[in-house]
Symmetry: C3
Subunit: 645 residues, 3 copies
């Protein structure tokens, strides 16, 4: 992108046009280089079907261009206007009980609705035709936070679309019956016409049906995105497209979407009342960067200070907004944007902080925002530089969808939390990680971590086995490799696809009682929680054993030398590696302009970091680029320093 | 009313007619002077459309009159008969999900239903025609607990009525769009026909739409009441009308109803397991009296002992029913009634206590009831006497409706609880309070307290400013004066309408984390909870500052001398005044017969109260009206004494 | 049954036919003598309406017969096939909000549906015609776990059926109005057509309507069962029929069903994480045996190890599956079966343990199952032997349905828990109990315990009074004898039907606050919880009095010598008898082959039991039938010994 872009959502339609001159002036003052625009403008630009009113919007783009501000132009389709659902109430989504979701907020559309898609494509075509060559146009921002509020619809339109999807996937109803194990509970279908979404049933639903419905719903959202993208590509084949994902958003698989995006974009809203909010951010940033294959990404939305949708919304204490913005840059972002530019007096998000608050510019928020904008403008050489991790964590949304269904050995397994627990020690140790799907090429990594990958194909098992044989280190945790892609258990002793490489067999799962933990003894002592298993060793050695309970004395953590590598297995929940105490993040990005070491102090007291070699400080607290290399850095609380290494 | 009336709901239809003679005899024994009657008799008196069977009811009225018992005659419309909803199922209300509420309990009608209203008015007309001149008739009791179980309906009938209401309120759809800030999230309406109630939406609804729906729903209930009142007035223009409100009932604004009521009536059900139940009662009693401009009111329903609808329903321990009844009288009630006269064997409230219990009259309950009835008969001179408070608390149901919506800085703000916290110290200090809406004349008060009045017009701000300038004392607490009547934030620094009088600016809200409290230091030390704010002083002085947290050292409580008065501000939740420890309530009512001091001991041990001057004890524990003035009073636990001062 | 049968649910349709030979071989190895089969085969055997495909099923029966394994043949009707609800969506049940329950699990049918019943009977007729004379057929297993997932339907079909049921029950709408006390809240019906199920109403429903709906729904399920039974009886009049109940399943009254069953059958799934799981089992086993008048019953389903539908599903630790199986035998079971034979790879219960686990036969589970199967094969003489209790607890599902409705003095009363608390001390003291409905002949019992029997007819009261007069001992606990069969309170002081025999009157209920307990002092000291009452003695003496609270000094436990017997009363929740500390169960079954003493150690350490006289050990830990009588037994943890006494 040529620089670290800085800016936010610009929604000038909330204000009289005369405010815009002040907006532009303040944007320059704040170092804004890019805005997103038009995200919720559909009802304004198309006040009635096929009646367009774009004049005001064109003037906005002209003024932004005049000020040298780039525009990531939204396709305006995230919230259908009142006339659409008045004319076509069947566009409204329904929940699993058949209850409609009504207009009055946003995303009140069934993702499978042909009416919605047709109207959206028509609007997008109009937009691309009008502004495809506008000089302010930097990129297209398609939709907005897909599936945030309408992730799964169960209406009859969705049902018909699901049947179409199943026909394509399975070809015959016999194949569907086999995949879904419909012999169980007398569910065998005679025709595709008999199939329904997994609406609320008297008791436990068919797990494979629920899994396929999660796939279908993600796909229905993706097809909305692709319909708009196609319309844009026809008219503006060279303008990049993106869409903003929410972090660790279960309904939307970032990996399957990534191949259709020119740049990854993420919205992340830290909770200042959560002392581990930067750890959640670290994971989401790594997922986003990894989805895009490592290329720079956009932090499209964050809050300048407080949000308005938690139970209690803390402002960001002084320095934290800057710190957390730099964290995104350290982990690969080339753009730092906010929701939104100017705080509105009305609407559902009027108490969401904005770059220009209700109280105006003589405010802490505007001062902190402007200072960061100026600071990020001083380091164009960071743009394009990438982290190069040697550790990969495997994550798989399909496995997630299958894992957290009911009727499992334990309801306590939470994939996002498990992934955080496995990611955290690396982050705290300053070891960079990618977070990749199982079908990625793993050969460049030294260590692959597989946290609770419940669904695993025999092929993935074979690839992981080969990875170890060729010298890789593999760490697998409990309840992994249990079922195939249709959620049918691999028979013959768990986890069948990995038994050879792990050198063991799991005979029975022994999920722990609520709040229970078990002591672990042996070479690696500690304690385990959530889960335990009856492990029979078949070549592996026990590194730790359970110190109490029904499995006392049986293996808890195992190690198996295999080929040229080593495979570890954890049969209980535990910290997989000790973390560093500090709270200091150390992350490296490398690019054409060199390698950059980012040091961020997430703690609340000063930390001194001794550098492995002297290096010049480019930016950040106490940095003096002209002063030459330094050999240690004093990081104040919430401080940031970027060094050239 | 000429005396302190005593009695209860009389539902003779549950019993054979021969029981009535015993009823009348026992009523005389218990000192009953007034009953309400007919509240749920619709299905009996109109067993089929327009077929009336009133004979039995006329005999009831005749017998009551014969015994000198006055009747507050219900209009019988609170629970439609089965034939009505069988013929017109569209009368049944629907929730925000579109789910119907079915017959089988009561109030199963949509308040906007023209069918319901037409049938109700027809019945009321019949009633007024038959009994408008009956000598037992004291007053009309319209409906019953409006909105208790059907406060908000979201059906299509309501939707159409809402659109009608909006057209009247706003005139044009452009005005509606401006008021509701519909630019946000693409909600701009092209026509009124596109508007719907705020049914369940995918995410946060439009706050102004929700606010207006609360107004509309209250108004729909009020129009039910007014339709009946009009029918009554046509036939019995001189018979007073009332309706019984529930205490601090959020859906129904007592102030807007009060102008249409000849006398205020309240239902209050203390929870003996709540050690602060008398504090809740104290507030509700003050609201009720204040709604009526201070005139005497009716405690229309209370329980003789236990209720049946809490999770665990404690009887009222000996003495508490008397104590709490006297509390109502002390705070301005001229009638003490119960639900209900005789305990029924069947139905949903069979385990609700009654004046005549299942076990008959050889019971503690009947003995306590009768004793109180006799006691209240001895003090007719109390009737009409009024408290004359010099302190006013402002309360505003519209602000309440806006305040407790989601998408706010904190979900912990609870207006009723906040009002209780501000009311309690005055009650405990023996300082009488009115609780009035913001548009009342405040000039007679020395102190006005404004607890968390989120919605505040610029005009109200100006009136409060003028109140202080003219010498008044004003105490404002946090998150007050934020939004206008359409819930649009007043820009330029919070709380814009009060910045001048308070001498400060609030730049950011800093709601506290769950359970968090902050020490306050300075002239008034203590602690704050729920909320904090970044306050910039602009003339005010800090009386307390935050002693910890991100705002440490910044003002928490402020004082601003302004004109001839003083304005205080509390930027956090805290006790506004220290309470007295005792548990003794001291309340004064004054009237044509003099001033009366009520002393009530809500504690569980004896309390001795030294009087400011000797005065005769008129009634209560140890009172001997003939013995002359006393200079101190020994109040037993749960004891009551009324003195003439 | 000639032996203690052993086996499980056999669902061969999940596997290729070639697996069956191994199944049969392993069944023999495991000592399987009986299987249930076909429970969820409807969609397979009738893939389209009236198109049957039974060939594979016949081969299954032939092979089982060839191996000497008896078949309890299911009628296959528990889960309708997709074609049925596709053609007749009105078969789908609805909840009280009117929300449908959709296909995708099981039991997705309205029990009142004539379409469902007609299709079920047609299938059953086909089954009986085909297999009624098959030599493998032992008995018919009708339906499966009736009402597990569709206990109450509120659809229009159910509504019409309810009205029919009410017409039959009451004859006239006047009688219905009297029974339901419809005068209350204006609910008086003019015609039966106006009556609806108790769908969600604005507030508390009519309790008698809810009670009758519970009766009706149970009856609707029973009529499904009876429709199938009739069809079977027409063709196979001599083949016994049964159906498997769930333990303490509130919607289904085991006593009213029992008269239509040739043998009682129960499903019981212990929770190994519940240290009192064997106590719950003990109660359920006694209820099941008592429902059948004491005759041997079948444990039709239990888990070999873990289940899959709790929040956390523990395997059964070594020895517990055997222990708990023997517990069923000790308490009268002549069959011990499991769900299911072989663990399936797919479907909603794939993680439910099976006799042959996913990991195959080289597993702890298969080893423990096989060992038990062999052990149970060694004691055919136990079959038919019965316990002969001298203590009866009264239980009444109708009272349960009435008791746990809202609008009662306390919401804390839980009938199943109360029954457990009253059953436990007898179980722990080794005193065998029956658990019988109030209309049973009680003359053979020495002690009758009546725990919280809220509904009680005057006739039952008279029978209990006569029982005591004739020398029986009666123990009644609180909130008993309150209402009649229509849930109308017996007037004149609680509990009217028992006041004479108990020698007391209860004037007021005083339910305790949450978590509150009260000390009891007097001859039987201790503490009471949940509930208290104001008891006036009228002949009884106080054995304990409340030691604190508003009722301090008033009776808590009373004793009344009456006629030749004694009646006790407990006005609060408390242990009615002290339990033995041990955790050792001692249960006697007697039959044609003698009397058998079962000793089971539910504790986790060894227990030594001294026998009242020397007796030979027939089976179990350390038993050597040839060694002659022993005078004491060392029971290892989770150990079992059966002795001939």
């Amino acid at each position: 992108m040529g620089r670290i872009h800085f800016g936010g959502d610009y929604n000038p339609e909330h204000w009289p046009e005369e405010v815009r001159a002040e907006d532009i002036r303040l944007m320059k003052e704040a170092g804004v280089s890019m805005v997103t625009a038009g995200i919720f403008s559909w009802a304004l630009v198309e006040p009635a079907p096929d009646e367009y009113d774009f004049d005001w919007f064109g003037r906005v783009l002209d003024d932004l261009h005049g000020a040298g501000i780039r525009v990531c132009l939204a396709t305006m389709t995230a919230s259908p206007p009142p006339w659409l659902t008045e004319r076509h109430p069947e566009v409204l989504p329904q929940d699993a009980d058949g209850v409609r979701r009504w207009p009055g907020s946003r995303q009140h559309f069934c993702p499978s609705s042909p009416v919605y898609r047709e109207r959206a494509v028509r609007l997008v075509t109009e937009l691309a035709t009008r502004y495809g060559t506008h000089p302010a146009l930097d990129s297209w921002h398609i939709g907005n936070e897909y599936g945030c509020s309408n992730p799964r619809c169960y209406c009859d339109v969705s049902a018909a679309d699901f049947r179409r999807w199943l026909r394509e996937r399975y070809g015959s109803v016999e194949a569907l019956n086999a995949a879904w194990a419909t012999t169980f509970w007398s569910q065998r279908y005679g025709t595709f016409e008999q199939v329904l979404p997994p609406r609320t049933a008297p008791t436990h639903p068919n797990p494979a049906q629920v899994l396929d419905y999660a796939r279908f719903c993600d796909d229905a959202l993706l097809r909305c995105y692709l319909a708009e993208k196609e319309a844009l590509r026809r008219i503006t084949p060279d303008v990049p497209v993106t869409t903003n994902h929410m972090p660790m958003h279960k309904p939307v698989d970032p990996y399957s979407w990534a191949v259709h995006e020119d740049v990854q974009a993420l919205d992340f809203y830290q909770d200042p009342y959560d002392p581990e909010t930067h750890l959640g951010a670290a994971l989401a940033f790594d997922v986003t960067r990894s989805a895009g294959g490592g290329r720079p990404w956009m932090l499209m939305e964050q809050a300048p200070s407080a949000v308005n949708w938690r139970a209690r919304n803390s402002p960001k204490p002084p320095g934290t907004m800057r710190l957390w913005s730099w964290q995104a840059v350290a982990q690969g972002a080339d753009a730092v944007l906010y929701f939104q530019w100017r705080a509105t007096p009305g609407g559902a998000e009027k108490f969401h902080s904005a770059m220009v608050p209700h109280a105006g510019t003589d405010t802490r928020i505007f001062r902190e925002v402007s200072a960061l904008g100026r600071e990020l403008g001083t380091v164009p050489q960071l743009a394009g530089a990438r982290p190069r991790p040697e550790v990969a964590l495997l994550a798989d949304w399909h496995s997630w969808w299958a894992l957290e269904q009911g009727s499992h050995p334990s309801g306590d397994l939470d994939f996002a939390e498990t992934l955080r627990r496995h990611h955290r020690p690396f982050f705290e140790a300053g070891v960079e990680c990618d977070v990749v799907p199982p079908d990625r090429d793993l050969s460049a990594y030294r260590l692959v971590v597989v946290p609770n990958l419940y669904l695993m194909s025999t092929e993935t098992g074979a690839r992981l086995t080969e990875f170890v044989r060729a010298g890789g280190h593999l760490l697998v945790s409990y309840f992994t490799g249990i079922s195939d892609d249709c959620d049918r258990v691999h028979l013959g002793g768990y986890p069948a696809p990995l038994r050879e490489v792990l050198g063991l067999r799991v005979e029975e799962f022994w999920p722990l009682a609520e709040g229970q933990s078990l002591p672990l003894t042996g070479a690696l002592a500690g304690s385990g929680d959530l889960w335990s298993e009856a492990i029979d060793l078949e070549g592996a050695e026990a590194v730790s054993v359970f110190g109490a309970g029904e499995l006392a004395g049986r293996p808890a953590l195992t190690r198996h030398a295999y080929g040229d590598g080593v495979a570890w297995y954890a049969g209980t929940g535990s910290r997989v590696l000790p973390g560093l105490p500090a709270g200091v993040q150390a992350t490296v990005r490398g690019g054409a302009d060199g390698r950059f070491l980012f040091l961020l102090n997430h703690g609340t007291s000063t930390a001194t970091v001794t550098l492995p070699e002297p290096m010049p400080a480019l930016a950040g607290d106490g940095a003096d680029p002209g002063a030459g290399p330094v050999s240690s850095v004093d990081l104040p609380a919430r401080g940031v320093v970027v060094l050239q290494s």
